[in-house]
Each structure stands twice: as structure tokens, then as C-alpha cells.
């Protein structure tokens, strides 16, 4: 069973990104949306978390990254998706868990 996790809070505001990483199983996907996209940026205290978590797929919602002006600061290897990609991720995984 593969799960899609959505995280919508900045890791500097809430611990839901950490909670998600602690419980997400190998092979699952974490999609960062809304203020959650800040977890995908480099040059800060959370940057290593994505880099050091190799068994989980990370995606970031492109329009939300653009709206915050951080599309040029995204961590290497993170996949950028649009809303169509968001829908595809929902369809490809068995269930969706929102970390609110």
C-alpha cells in the first residue's frame, strides 16, 4: 500500500513535516503544498532532512512555490508538479494522508 502524504505548513511554523517524515514508510510520496513548500528550500535548518531521506519521494506543488518566489531555491532532485500532477499523484497512490 503506497500512501501520498500532503504537508501544507511551513516547517518553521509547525512540526507536521517532521511528524510526516517520522511515520512515512519507504516508497511513499510526500507532496509539499501551500506553506509546506518551504520545506523544499535549501540553505536552512531543514534542508538536510529531504537530502538524508532517500527512501521517500518528495514533490513540491509548483504554483505554490512560484507564489512564494522560491522556485529557484528548491532542493536538488525534488520533483515539481502542477495541479494536474497533484491529481495524478492522488490517483497513483492507494490513499492520501493530509498532515494539517
Amino acid at each position: 500500500m503506497s500512501l501520498l502524504h500532503t504537508v501544507n505548513k511551513s516547517p518553521f511554523e509547525s512540526n507536521t513535516f517532521d511528524a510526516c517524515l517520522n511515520l512515512a514508510k519507504s516508497g511513499s510520496t510526500v507532496l509539499l503544498i501551500e506553506d509546506g513548500v518551504y520545506a523544499a528550500t535549501t540553505g536552512n535548518s531543514v534542508a538536510d532532512k529531504i537530502k538524508n531521506t532517500t527512501d521517500i519521494n518528495f514533490c513540491v506543488l509548483g504554483p505554490d512555490a512560484q507564489a512564494r518566489g522560491i522556485e529557484g531555491k528548491l532542493a536538488e532532485g525534488i520533483k515539481v508538479v502542477d495541479y494536474e500532477g497533484f491529481v495524478d499523484l492522488v490517483a497513483e497512490h492507494d490513499a492520501v494522508q493530509a498532515w494539517l
Binding site: T6, N8, D35, D88, V96, L100
Partner: protein, 130 residues
């Protein structure tokens, strides 16, 4: 694929309603069925027809209503969450002896069973929230 949505956050509070509308549009464009949109907690505020956002801002309730009309969406407002927050339809206005009602066309008021049913009947339940 049948997709159901749950929205826990009011419009203009942060971004959940906007995200949900964009997601709904993308899912419909890709040929998926939106089984139901369930408005819960402060999400019930999406359903007021009395909101007057500035003209140069988006009108979230109007966007839901337009989507509902075009795609015959089932927009369901949780009755307990709605009554706490003063969102009532005409039937509830009469039943409770109130002097006004404010639920927009396109939305219907019902209970939590509708969320449970959406969780069972739809292939996926996607939550947008506070």
C-alpha cells in the same frame, strides 16, 4: 476515478479553499469524477452567499457555485459545524425561528454520514484543511 474532497478551512483564512478549487478543476479536466465536496469545521464558511469580497479579489463561494453548476457537483455542508457558526438554510431558519438564512445556492446542508459515505464510495478522499 471517483475523488471526494473534505475542506476544513474557511475562505480567505489561508489557502485551503483555493487549493481545493484548483485541485477540483484539474481533476475534472483530467476526466475524474468529483464524488462529493464536504465542508467541515470552518470550511462551512465557503457556503455563505452574503460574502462580498472586493471586486479585484477572487470570490470563492461564486467559484464553487460556478463549478457546481457546470459539473453538477455535490457540495455538502456539515449541519452541526454550520449551525455553530450561524450558517443556515431556509428550512433551518424556519425550524429554529431565525430571521434570516445565508446558504448559497448550489450547496446543501447535511450530516457527517455524508462524509463517511464519501470515504466509502469514493476511490480517494483528499483533505484540504487548516
Amino acid at each position: 476515478m471517483k475523488i471526494a474532497l473534505q475542506i476544513n478551512e474557511g475562505p480567505y483564512q489561508h489557502q485551503a479553499a483555493d487549493s481545493a478549487i484548483q485541485f477540483t478543476k484539474a481533476a475534472l479536466a483530467k476526466g475524474h469524477e468529483i464524488f462529493r465536496v464536504f465542508f467541515y469545521h470552518d470550511g462551512v464558511n465557503n457556503a455563505t452567499r452574503l460574502a462580498i469580497p472586493p471586486q479585484d479579489d477572487r470570490n470563492i463561494t461564486a467559484e464553487w457555485v460556478a463549478l457546481q453548476k457546470e459539473h453538477n457537483l455535490d457540495l455538502v455542508v456539515c449541519i452541526a459545524a454550520a449551525q455553530r457558526r450561524g450558517l443556515i438554510d431556509e428550512d433551518e431558519m424556519n425550524r429554529q425561528g431565525k430571521d434570516a438564512n445565508n446558504i448559497s445556492e448550489g450547496f446543501r446542508i447535511s450530516g457527517l454520514g455524508q462524509l463517511i459515505e464519501a470515504g466509502i464510495e469514493a476511490d480517494r478522499l483528499v483533505v484540504f484543511g487548516a
